[in-house]
């Protein structure tokens, strides 16, 4: 192995992305699902910065900044919606939310 290369970062971020994705698919608590998506977004940031570092361009760095800003906005909206839901019913378990079904 020796030197730290871009592939190490890519593997790490791919692992983070897959962990986040599995979390979204497996976990049932809405807050946890939301955190898992945030983990996926952070994996993306790591990928972008790693590629920027490798290719010596700034696009990836600035893209990562935009992604962070968007993730923050998502957090504000998402938590507000989860709040609104928990006021109407006492649970935030994804399996308990099924008033809309065919």
């Amino acid at each position: 192995m020796g030197e730290l290369g871009v592939n190490h970062f890519l593997f790490l971020s791919a692992a983070l992305f897959i962990i986040g994705m599995m979390g979204v698919l497996v976990r049932r608590n809405l807050i946890i699902i939301f955190m898992c998506v945030e983990l996926m977004m952070n994996a993306v940031n790591l990928t972008l910065v790693a590629f920027a570092w490798e290719s010596n361009t700034m696009n990836g760095q600035s893209f990562a900044l935009f992604t962070i800003a968007v993730a923050a906005a998502e957090a504000a909206v998402g938590l507000a919606i989860i709040m609104a839901l928990s006021r109407r019913q006492s649970t935030i378990d994804a399996d308990e939310i099924r008033s809309l079904r065919d």
């Binding site: 939301f34 993306v44 590629f51 696009n59 600035s62 935009f66 998502e74 989860i82 839901l85 065919d102």
Partner: protein
């Protein structure tokens, strides 16, 4: 690339007037909502919205015929920008007409100022995607549009269904965004640039046997298509659609069935055709399969629906499938015309663009009639439409026009749009194109069942109760305009509209970089 800061060319603000107009509208609405007496909100802010979107639509002509980029290629004004912006702004105008009285009176009187502000930001995000020349711009535009739409979905927050639909939409939406942006990161990694034209250029010069490039690009392509599939509600990424459409207030459903979908298709055309056009052999078949599954699933499941709003939700999934056919038969050679000479537009993408316009008018129209009935105390199930023709003949006639158009019966605009898509599929001269053309025809026959069922209930059943009378002038004007447009645009002006759509291909030529950089 090192640039002297003082030598940086200034952006060309004159190139983005329509987008700036909508941004200005959003700010005016925000301040109007904050500083005006609540009693005036309905009248003044509705007027301001209508004028603002009208102005932005008129300003689109300043972008027509230009093919330029500014902000270092981030923002582009080309044929694709103009046509998709036209669709989005028309949808915004119609949504204001449909939603004004609904938001003000039904579901516990929602705050109309905030509603218009969120609407304006969602429209602005969609316009940004339509004018995007860079991956960052596509991502930020989609997110701006989606975030505002999530809140709009939850806007009727006193009803549990609205919040629940918004929650499903939100969670799957951000999940899709994360997948999409991961795909974008890999595109950037493989090509070293986020500029769409730069990506196409890098792909064309790439050597065929590059060990790293090929798998990473295929991964990027797959992630991107999955992410975009969620956004445009293609099967198998559609789970959120029926719940979100059913839960949201009806005017919001009308809006979100059109504008976020138009934004998603804008992003798809920009990404797949403009940037990844050189590797279209890798994505054409995938899109063809998705198109078939989407239209088959949407049509078959819609048959089982008794709730008209939910039926229209599944029907909108089916229409996504028809639109994707236009993309699946894209066949223009190369994605990037280095010579700069504009070639004729690809028929598939042109038909897709025209279909979005037709879909906008007829689909918002159908939801508008549902909202009209809700004003008069009727519900959303099929039984609520019973005998509509004898009690409210005009509404029944308008609904019939919209449903026949969605079905694709001549001379409506829906027929013309479907005809163009089928023609493009046949002209593609491939087995997949032919199969898709046949599936559209067969599945349209299936769709006739559930559309005509509503018509039959309206005309042949006995009315269950006497309707409430209520005055909704703006909504009436909107429904009337959409009904006339649905009936006549398929016959008159369709040539001009298709010509306008056809100019999208100029997006593929090198643009003069007014804003420098590159």
């Amino acid at each position: 690339m090192l640039v002297e800061l003082s030598n940086l060319p200034g952006p060309d603000w004159g190139l983005m007037l329509p987008q700036l107009a909508v941004f200005g509208l959003a700010l005016v609405l925000l301040f109007g909502d904050a500083f005006m007496a609540r009693a005036q909100h309905f009248r003044v802010l509705t007027g301001v919205s209508l004028v603002g979107y009208g102005l932005a639509t008129a300003l689109l002509w300043t972008q027509d015929g230009r093919n330029e980029a500014t902000f270092f290629g981030l923002f582009r004004a080309d044929g694709l920008t103009v046509f998709l912006s036209l669709v989005i702004l028309v949808a915004a105008l119609l949504t204001v007409m449909v939603s004004a009285s609904y938001v003000d009176r039904l579901e516990g009187r929602m705050p109309i100022g905030e509603f218009y502000v969120l609407l304006a930001f969602s429209v602005l995000g969609a316009l940004m995607v339509a004018a995007a020349g860079d991956l960052v711009m596509i991502f930020v535009g989609i997110e701006l549009s989606s975030l505002a739409t999530y809140i709009l979905t939850a806007f009727a927050k006193r009803r549990l269904g609205a919040v629940e639909g918004a929650l499903k939409y939100f969670l799957l939406g951000i999940f899709a965004s994360a997948i999409l942006v991961y795909g974008m990161a890999w595109i950037y990694g493989a090509t070293g640039t986020t500029d769409l034209d730069g990506i196409a250029r890098a792909l064309q010069t790439a050597t065929a046997g590059d060990e790293f490039l090929e798998p990473s690009l295929l991964l990027a392509l797959l992630l991107t298509i999955v992410g975009l599939g969620f956004k445009m509600a293609a099967v198998p990424f559609h789970f959120w659609t029926p719940d979100a459409y059913d839960g949201a207030a009806t005017p919001v459903t009308a809006f979100m069935s059109v504008v976020p979908k138009a934004a998603a298709f804008a992003a798809t055309i920009r990404l797949l055709v403009q940037a990844l056009g050189p590797m279209r052999d890798d994505w054409l078949n995938l899109i063809a399969v998705l198109a078939f599954v989407t239209m088959a699933f949407g049509n078959v499941v819609a048959v089982a629906q008794r709730n008209v709003k939910r039926m229209l939700a599944y029907s909108s999934i089916a229409h996504t499938g028809y639109m994707m056919v236009g993309l699946a038969v894209y066949r223009q050679q190369g994605g990037f015309d280095v010579g700069g000479g504009a070639t004729g537009g690809d028929q598939g993408v042109t038909s897709l663009l025209y279909y979005i316009l037709a879909y906008t008018v007829m689909n918002i129209g159908a939801f508008a009639v549902v909202a009209w009935l809700q004003h008069r105390g009727r519900g959303l199930t099929l039984d609520d439409f019973a005998g509509l023709a004898s009690t409210q003949p005009l509404a029944a006639a308008a609904m019939t026009v919209f449903l026949l158009s969605l079905m694709g019966i001549p001379p409506t605009i829906g027929f013309r749009a479907k005809y163009e898509v089928i023609l493009a599929a046949i002209n593609a001269d491939t087995a997949a194109g032919l199969a898709l053309a046949i599936s559209i025809v067969v599945l349209s026959a299936v769709s006739a069942f559930y559309y005509l069922r509503v018509v039959a209930v309206m005309y042949f059943d006995e009315p269950a109760r006497t309707p409430r009378t209520e005055s909704t002038p703006l909504l009436n004007v909107g429904i009337g305009a959409m009904a006339v447009a649905t009936l006549l645009l398929g016959v008159f002006f369709s040539g001009q509209l298709i010509d306008l759509a056809d100019r999208w291909s100029r997006a593929l030529t090198v643009v003069a970089q007014a804003g420098g950089g590159g």
